[in-house]
Amino acid sequence: MTNEPQFDHVDMMLNMGPQHPATHGVFRMVLTVDGERVVDVTPHIGYLHRGTERLAEVETYGQVITLFDRVDYISNLNNELAFVRAGEKIMEVEAPERAQYIRVILAELNRVASHLLFIGTYAIDLGGMTPVMYCFRERERIENLFEHVTGARMMHNYMRIGGVKSDVPDDFVPWVRRLIGEVRMGVEESDKLLSTNEVFLARTQGVGVIDGPTAVSCGLSGPSLRGSGVAYDVRKDDPYEIYPYLNYKIPLGENGDCWDRYYLRVLECYESLNMIEQCLDQFPAGPIMAAGRRIARPPAGEVFAHSENPRGDLGVYLVSDGSDKPYRVKIRPPSFCNLVGLATMTRGAYIADAVAILGSLDIVLGEVDR
């Protein structure tokens, strides 16, 4: 220290957000920057707080499903699935097999749609403007199917405790088969354009590295965790619905950098499409709603159910006091928990890297703030 020249200097505080193109919504991070280097980062959340958990306490069980559509508004069906599973657990019903298949097909399609949105917006974060067009084109196809099946493109309100709202249309299976082919080609197109693009590699490889133990201790889940090589996936570790009857692979990263987190999502798109194909092969006939669905008053008690959302481990902790409304609904949002790793990854990186790292966590502010 004695040999170093002593200068007074003040690090600049750079306020990114709540209105900033790279924060994907109303997220604010205060960067302490030394030139182009990020010294520290403080995330500020809560701009999109809508009191979902409180609202869930004054709605009946059926009405809460609509709230879960709006928690993570990119992967609505996955959220519905998490809640109806908690509801089924506390009401001790089980959805019929056909309903479970429908749910899994739709949830996996929604996972693909969500990952497509991620790939596109991640390219935008890094300045590439073409992949988002390809990805949105494919996402539109998926949403057209959702509209056909559920009646809505985003806020579906389709799943029910004990089944699904209505049976799928007659042309569902051929439609999904056609869709899978189209979407697979679309994902390949973006994959070829972006994944091994030299500039993209230079921007993402070795950036925002987080090792497995740190990622676990930060509470990361989903592709953000698996990018660090930790094989945790709720579908595998706590199987639910009809996932045990499917063959699938859970791709793992090695370096825990932004490219790994990005590329795992691309691979998961392919895996999800394969899973949907298997579901269609096994697609059974039968009822879509468990009998006794009118049970609106579950016994008093508490349950925890979780499922693999595109962003990670979405948990729902449900407490019932025996009335027709939940006493407490606690959501364990993967986006919020993944955000914990942001500061660890960002310190010492460049400002441009902060954008890349935040993008690679794929947060949805509706879920962070609830």
């Binding site: 600049m12 790279a22 089924e88 001790e92 097999e97 230079a202 039968g286 009822p287 468990a290």
Partner: protein, 394 residues
């Protein structure tokens, strides 16, 4: 020198015509870029305002002009409003010496290339001033980035212009074009063209070098606080500069209005030929924009100082030797092609192949979950209330 009134009128008319050419070029680029990018991205692009959306840039311009012109309360007003002019004027003034055909030029200077270099660097001042006077952190970051980026990339671009000056034995644009009557300089020094194009991209801040106004990082950089007409001037300057790169590339490397026909064409055809070449270069720039993400500031600087500047100096020396010892021109071609191929191979081995291998490994090393046999179909009509604990497996 006697300046008569008719001279003054003539000059004014020429300048007016030039301004229109530059503005038309810029506006046509706005349309071309949006349509071309649209085609590359699988969408139609603007197609509602006028036939083929041709009037879209006009509509945009009218919108920008009619917007409220806001300046931040804490900005330095004088510098804030001077900055767009400081950026736009150099990008317009360089057009004075650009010949669009043999005699279609406002003032053909013997030192035309030098004049271009001397004037074009001035726009850095405007960008830094815009960043500083806005009194915004994003703007100042963008301004500093602009200063670092533009100053660094001036060096390779100037060296390439010098190489062309040496090869054609003149700094006069017309003589440079005449020297390319049979063999354009892109065939003589392909490396120089590539360096020129990369540095030119960086000079005008096009992707992948749009770092100083990176939308997702510094939200427009020096331009973040500008609106309305002042922002429109920056916007116009950006497109005029892009067009300058196209015209300059056509004049210096693609043989201007002479190659491949050798002799001079009629004037209109000459202008059309030059413009065609300029638009070709501009389309390459747009194509790059559609393909590549943005680089990071340190990677950008490393590219300039570790690759482009040493390479351009080497090329400069080799060109000097070639002239001194009167080697045949294809010596330069072979050398610069070699220099082009080596980094491409090195780079692809360094990054792309490991990434592809990594991608293959990731999909191969994935945890494989095998399906359990599905139980025979159960009619679940009356199944209610299986216990939550044992309920997961049917």
């Amino acid at each position: 020198m006697n300046v008569t009134l008719s001279d003054a009128i003539k000059l004014t008319m020429q300048l007016f015509a030039l301004l229109n050419v530059a503005a038309f070029g810029a506006i046509s680029l706005v349309w071309l870029e949006r349509r071309f990018l649209g085609r590359l991205q699988g969408r139609p692009g603007p197609n509602r305002v006028g036939p083929l959306g041709l009037l879209q840039p006009i509509a945009d311009a009218i919108k920008l002009m009619s917007k409220e012109d806001v300046a931040p309360g804490t900005s330095q007003r004088l510098l804030f409003y001077a900055a767009p002019i400081l950026v736009f004027v150099p990008s317009f003034v360089v057009w004075l010496t650009f010949p669009l055909a043999r005699d279609v030029v406002v003032r053909n200077l013997d030192m035309g290339l030098f004049f271009f270099v001397a004037i074009s660097v001035l726009s850095i001042v405007g960008l830094v001033l815009a960043g500083w006077s806005s009194n915004s952190k994003y703007a100042i970051l963008g301004g500093f980035r602009a200063a670092a980026q533009l100053v660094s990339y001036e060096i390779p671009i100037i060296t390439m212009i010098l190489v062309i000056g040496m090869l054609s034995d003149s700094l006069d644009f017309v003589k440079v074009v005449d020297a390319q009557a049979t063999v354009p300089f892109i065939a003589v020094v392909p490396l120089a063209f590539v360096i020129f194009l990369i540095a030119g991209l960086a000079e005008v801040g096009r992707t992948p070098f749009d770092i100083y106004f990176a939308e997702s990082e510094v939200v427009g950089g020096p331009f973040v606080e500008y609106s309305g007409a002042h922002w429109a001037i920056f916007f116009l300057a950006e497109y005029v500069n892009t067009f300058v790169v196209g015209i300059l590339g056509a004049l210096l490397f693609l043989g201007g209005w002479r190659w491949p026909f050798g002799a001079d064409l009629p004037q209109i055809a000459s202008v059309a030929l030059l413009m065609g070449k300029a638009y070709f270069i501009v389309l390459i720039i747009f194509w790059i924009r559609a393909t590549y993400p943005r680089m990071r500031i340190d990677q950008l600087m490393a590219m300039a100082w570790k690759w482009l500047i040493p390479l351009s100096f080497v090329l400069f020396l080799v060109a000097a030797f070639q002239l001194k010892f009167e080697w045949p021109w294809w010596v330069l071609t072979i050398l610069s092609l070699g220099v082009l191929v080596v980094p491409v191979v090195v780079q692809s081995r360094k990054q792309r192949n490991p990434a592809l291998a990594l991608a293959v490994r990731y999909s191969a090393n994935a945890v494989i979950v095998h399906a359990k046999p599905r139980p025979a179909a159960v009619i679940v009509d009356d199944v209610v209330a299986t216990s939550a604990v044992e309920g997961t497996s049917a």
